[in-house]
């Protein structure tokens, strides 16, 4: 084995082991609630990863997770924890809906990018605000971004329940956006849409940015060694602010895509915690954009499979939340994997790791 391959394998070990462990513990829970695990897991995996429509739905569900994963990755690379992707996503979704509704006379080719950019812009503002508070007033960004999630969700809920509620809607939702703002569906009847390709494009762009540009070098440097970075002339506040702006923008785009590609209107409380799942995606993907792509598809597949499992094996789709949680907790235990990683790496690679 050459060194590159060894490094790749050893960097994959924690994610693979965590996934295996998560399935094992989920299996115990299935037995605990007196269901047949083989039926449950067959339904789960078939529903997520077998058959064109299932795969299409998996990719549809993966799209927001890849994006929120990227959002967390880019901020954490610069040493900031953006737990606020959920709120940024809500505001991005809402304001891109309003943009699409307000400029309904524009052709799709103009309306789609404008709506997405407005979503990105609003998401960025909602992420920059807590970063400013962190830099200026030393406000812990973990708490402030979580609080701002609640504020954003409640604020959009007010908007969609009162001033922007569609006239004939039985539930809180805006009017439908004009047809030309719909993102192209790739494999109907699945709601998989162009948004998935936008997500892939962003994965590639962010990978290039992080690993092939000076900007990305600054990001990674600030994240790893903040004091040293300012010593060598990288501006800490500037880097953190731009990383968070980018992170919030991506979360905002995730929201915009959910509207333009999937629902075609803003729905109250439409996100089942995309922002938080993005954190797990980023951890699974080792804070690497390409890893986020894989992690997002994996978790998207589980979410899709869980729906099938609920239909076919009468086990609540919440089982996937249990899997996610175990995955998350196992990934946190970074040193637990060291002994196994060492089996795959010789001395030279170990030295590089350290």
């Amino acid at each position: 084995m050459n060194n590159g391959l060894r490094l790749l394998i050893s960097s994959l070990i924690p994610s693979v082991m965590a996934a295996a462990g998560a399935f094992l513990i989920a299996l115990l829970f299935v037995v605990f609630v007196r269901q047949d695990p083989s039926v449950a897991f067959t339904a789960l995996l078939n529903g997520g990863f077998v058959g064109t429509q299932n795969i299409a739905n998996t990719l549809m569900k993966a799209t927001p997770l890849i994006l929120t994963g990227l959002a967390f990755t880019i901020a954490s690379r610069a040493g900031v924890f953006n737990v606020g992707a959920e709120g940024q996503l809500y505001l991005g979704a809402f304001f891109s809906t309003i943009t699409a509704l307000s400029f309904s006379e524009l052709p799709g080719l103009a309306l789609i990018p404008i709506s997405i950019l407005v979503g990105a812009f609003v998401g960025a503002i909602w992420a920059v605000f807590p970063t400013y508070l962190k830099l200026r007033f030393n406000v812990n960004e973990i708490i402030s971004t979580i609080m701002l999630n609640y504020v954003a969700i409640l604020f959009t809920s007010y908007l969609v329940n009162h001033p922007f509620k569609a006239k004939d809607a039985q539930f809180p939702a805006t009017e439908m956006i004009p047809d030309q703002a719909f993102l192209l569906r790739l494999l109907p009847p699945s709601r998989l849409n162009m948004g998935f390709l936008i997500a892939i494009a962003l994965v590639i762009l962010l990978w290039l940015l992080l690993f092939k540009t000076i900007w990305g070098y600054d990001f990674r440097h600030v994240g790893q060694a903040p004091y040293f970075s300012s010593y060598i002339g990288i501006s800490l506040p500037k880097t953190m602010l731009s990383a968070m702006a980018l992170s919030g923008a991506i979360a905002g785009i995730a929201g915009a895509i959910e509207v333009l590609g999937v629902h075609h209107r803003f729905l109250d409380n439409f996100s089942p915690g995309f922002g938080f799942t993005g954190i797990i995606v980023s951890l699974l993907g080792k804070a690497n954009p390409i890893g986020d792509l894989v992690g997002g598809i994996f978790l998207g597949g589980l979410t899709q499979g869980a729906l099938m499992m609920e239909l076919n094996a009468s086990i609540g789709r919440e089982l996937v939340d249990v899997i996610k949680a175990v995955l998350f907790i196992s990934l946190a235990a970074v040193e637990a994997y060291k002994p196994i990683i060492h089996l795959f790496s010789d001395r030279k690679v170990k030295a590089q790791d350290a």
Partner: protein, 301 residues
């Protein structure tokens, strides 16, 4: 306007402050040991769930309370293990605990009780409430000292105990030394891991109790995600209360009062409910901005 603010608000404020006070007191100890326990939200939620399940199963709110404390302790020990032994980031572990508690409670609610959203029913035994007939005539005394579970008053006692523990006991002082300067503490022969476990354990138990209070203190029910960010608000209280017991008391009362005002506004005015519900979250950010200068430190590495 006169109907909006009346004296019964004091009683409501105290009831709303209790879960925040309980969890932030334990959290203060963890904080002084050098750990901001981000998982308190999940520990509180798990506590609320087990309090309801055990109270229902055994017909006893005391057993519900004990179960809630134990589940909090269990989650705390897991946190401590991954933090101390496997060098996990405390923030990542905490968020994992939060997502895990939310997922598990929803999964078990559906699988065991066959319901989505809430568990309620007359077989869930709530905490008994203290009634003192002699003071029922006096407005403020009545609101403060009757109609509340013992846990409310126990939490006030805990303020004193936490204060004494942190400032006047050897274990408490050692724990603070570990939090402030781990290297020096280790050089002086202290077992850092042990004190960190202690701090996390106390924050887990107290968050479990806080959850039990939420579930069994007033309405005797569990609803999906019923903690609604209270664990995070408790974190904010710890930080802007400078990691002290008295700061936790003041912060909790402040938030309890804000929630009480919000509840009365909701009943009595034309303000959209979403804005009223926003009050505690906005207040958290404002409070951190005003009081948090120079103290918020990221403790995990």
């Amino acid at each position: 306007m006169p109907e909006i603010i009346n004296l019964s608000i004091i009683g409501v404020a105290i009831r709303m402050a209790t879960p925040l006070l309980l969890s932030s007191l334990g959290g203060v100890v963890a904080y002084r040991a050098g750990i901001l326990n981000v998982g308190m939200e999940g520990m509180m939620l798990a506590g609320a769930f087990s309090a309801v399940v055990f109270s229902m199963t055994f017909g006893s709110s005391t057993i519900g309370l004990i179960a809630a404390g134990l589940i909090g302790l269990l989650a705390a020990m897991l946190t401590g293990l991954i933090y101390n032994r496997y060098k996990g980031d405390v923030f990542v572990i905490g968020m994992a605990i939060n997502i895990g508690a939310l997922g598990l409670t929803n999964f078990l609610m559906r699988s065991i009780f066959g319901t989505v959203g809430a568990i309620s029913g007359s077989d869930i035994i709530g905490f008994p409430k203290i009634e003192i007939n002699a003071i029922k005539e006096f407005p403020v005394l009545r609101d403060v000292f009757t109609g509340n579970p013992i846990l409310v008053y126990a939490s006030w006692g805990l303020v004193l105990i936490t204060f004494v523990f942190l400032n006047h006991t050897r274990v408490g002082l050692n724990l603070r030394a570990v939090g402030e300067n781990p290297e020096a503490a280790a050089a002086a022969g202290l077992n850092n891991s042990w004190y960190r476990y202690l701090g996390i354990a106390l924050s887990g138990i107290s968050s479990g109790f806080a959850g039990a209070y939420l579930a069994l203190g007033q309405l005797s029910m569990f609803t999906e995600n019923m903690t609604a960010g209270r664990g995070f608000i408790a974190l904010a209280i710890i930080i802007f209360g400078r990691g002290t017991a008295e700061g936790a008391l003041l912060g909790s009362l402040l938030f309890g009062f804000a929630e009480a005002v919000a509840m009365q506004l909701q009943g009595a005015s034309t303000v959209p409910p979403q804005f009223v519900l926003m009050i505690p979250y906005v207040l958290t950010v404002v409070a951190l901005t005003i009081f948090g200068v120079g103290r918020s430190r990221r403790l995990s590495t």
